[in-house]
Amino acid sequence: MDTIVTLLYYLLTAYIAVLLVRNFLKRKNWQEEVLYIIVLIPFVLRLLRLK
C-alpha cells in the first residue's frame, strides 16, 4: 500500500512539473518566467530522486 501511495505522489509531482513548464511557456513577462523555473527545480530534483 505504501508503495502505491508513493508512486501516486511521484505521478502528482510529475503532473505539477508539467503544469509549471506549460505555464512557463505561456508567460510573456520575464519575471514570471524566472519564478516558474525556480519553482520547478525542487519538483525536478524530487523526480530525479536527488532531493
Partner: protein
C-alpha cells in the same frame, strides 16, 4: 523565445549544481577501519530479511573478547544530526579490545537519515573531524529518514503497537518507531530489525547515543528504563565524582511511546539506556547554522538565551566542543560497563583501548580515528 531559452538554461544550471551537491552528500562514503577487537561485521538485514539490501541495511560491528560475558549494543546514528553519538560509536568500533563479553556497534542506525539534511534548515552537507593524517569527513544527516526512502508522511502518525498519536513527521523518526513493525514503513522495519537483533543476540544492555538542544529539558543525562535505573544512578554518581563532568538520570516515561529507552526495555530482556549530550547546533535560537557551530558549539545568541534563563544547560564563550560531547559519551559507556561488570561477574564486559572524557578533550576526537589510507584493505568497511 531566446529569453525563454536563456531562463530555462539558467534553471537547468541551478538544478545541476543543486543536484550534484545533494548527490555527493547522499553518496559520500565514510570509511571505518576495523578495530583490533572486531571479529566480524554482519548486516542488520541478517536479523530481519526485509531490511536486506535497503538503504537501512546497516553494518553491525561485533567486538568479541576471548572470555564469554555480557553483550552490549551501542546505537550510533539513531539521529545522525547529533554527530557526537555516531563519533563515540566510531571510536568504539575503531579502538575497542575486549577481554570478556561482546560489544555490538551500529554506526548508522538510521542510515537513510544520514543521507539528507534538515529541509529548510540550511545545514552543511557534511563536516570534517581534523586528524593528524588530514581529517575524516562525515555526512551531516538529519533527525528523520530521507523522504526519498519513505514518502509521503501521513496526516496522523499512530505509533505501533500502542496507537499513540505522535507528530506526523515522526513516522520517519527512528526514536519514535520502536519496537518496530515487520510490515511497516522503512523506519518501522528498521526498528523491528534492531529489536530482533537485540532478542537474537541476547543483548544485556542497549545504549542509544544522542545529543539535545540546550532549550530541551532532557539534556546531559542518562535516560533509563526502570530495569536500568540503579545502573544509571550508580554511573551518574561515579561519573560526577571521577570523570570531570556531571551527568544526571531521568526515568524513561511510560506514557511517551516509540522511544528506544522505553520500547526496547519493554519488548526485550535488555536494559535500555539513552545518553544525551548538549548540542547548541540544534537550538532554535542559534545563529549561523554552519560546520563551525556544529564542531565548536559556540554561539553568541544561545549564550544570550542562557543569560535570560531560557536554557536547561549552562553555556558560555567556550561553547560545547564536539570533543567534550564525544568524551562524555565514551566515559559514560565505560563507567556503565565497569559498574555492570562488578555487579554481574558472569556477564562482565571488560573493554580496553577506548579513550575516556579527559583523553578525548585533551587529544581531540580525531586522535582516535584511524587513517583508512594506511589500513589493510581487508580491515576497511564503509558506512
Amino acid at each position: 523565445m531566446t529569453r525563454k531559452v536563456a531562463i530555462a538554461i539558467l534553471g537547468l544550471v541551478l538544478a545541476v549544481f543543486a543536484g550534484l551537491s545533494f548527490y555527493r552528500s547522499r553518496h559520500l562514503r565514510e570509511p571505518v577501519v576495523l578495530g583490533p577487537g572486531i571479529s566480524r561485521v554482519v548486516k542488520l538485514g541478517d536479523y530481519f530479511a526485509p531490511i536486506k539490501g535497503t538503504v537501512n541495511d546497516a553494518n553491525v560491528y561485533i567486538i568479541e573478547g576471548k572470555e564469554p560475558g555480557g553483550t552490549i549494543l551501542l546505537l550510533g546514528g539513531t539521529h545522525p544530526e547529533e554527530p557526537a553519538g555516531r563519533l563515540a560509536a566510531w571510536i568504539f568500533a575503531e579502538n575497542a579490545s575486549l577481554a570478556r563479553g561482546r560489544i555490538l556497534v551500529i554506526l548508522s542506525a538510521n542510515r537513510s537519515a544520514t543521507t539528507v539534511t534538515r529541509l529548510g534548515g540550511a545545514y552543511p552537507p557534511d563536516f570534517t573531524i581534523p586528524t593528524a593524517w588530514g581529517g575524516q569527513t562525515f555526512r551531516m544527516g538529519d533527525r528523520w529518514s530521507n523522504p526519498l526512502d519513505q514518502w509521503p508522511d501521513p496526516e496522523v502518525y499512530l505509533h505501533y503497537p500502542t496507537r499513540q498519536e505522535l507528530a506526523y513527521v515522526d513516522i520517519r523518526n527512528l526514536n519514535r518507531a520502536f519496537p518496530g513493525r515487520p510490515n511497516g514503513t522503512l523506519t518501522e522495519r528498521t526498528c523491528f530489525a534492531i529489536t530482533e537483533l537485540i532478542r537474537r543476540e541476547k543483548v544485556d544492555i542497549e545504549i542509544d547515543f544522542h545529543e539535545a538542544e540546550l532549550q530541551y529539558p532532557v539534556i546531559s543525562t542518562i535516560v533509563a528504563h526502570e530495569k536500568g535505573a540503579d545502573l544509571a544512578a550508580a554511573a551518574s554518581m561515579f561519573i560526577s565524582s571521577v570523570e570531570g563532568f556531571s551527568i544526571g538520570v531521568e526515568n524513561s516515561p511510560k506514557a511517551l511511546r516509540g522511544l528506544s529507552h522505553r520500547e526496547i526495555g519493554d519488548a526485550t530482556d535488555a536494559i535500555s539506556l539513552l545518553l544525551e549530550a548538549p548540542e547548541p547546533f540544534l537550538d532554535a535560537t542559534r545563529g549561523r547554522t554552519n560546520r563551525e557551530l556544529l564542531l565548536t558549539g559556540k554561539d553568541e545568541f544561545i549564550v544570550r538565551a542562557g543569560k535570560r534563563g531560557l536554557l536547561f544547560e549552562k553555556i558560555d564563550g567556550r561553547g560545547w566542543p564536539i570533543d567534550v560531547r564525544v568524551g562524555r559519551h565514551t566515559s559514560t559507556v565505560l563507567q556503565l560497563l565497569e559498574i555492570w561488570s562488578a555487579d554481574h561477574p558472569d556477564k562482565a564486559v571488560a573493554v580496553s583501548g577506548v579513550p575516556r572524557y579527559g583523553d578525548v578533550v585533551e587529544k581531540g576526537t580525531g586522535a582516535f580515528l584511524k587513517d583508512p589510507k594506511a589500513a589493510d584493505p581487508s580491515k576497511l568497511a564503509y558506512e
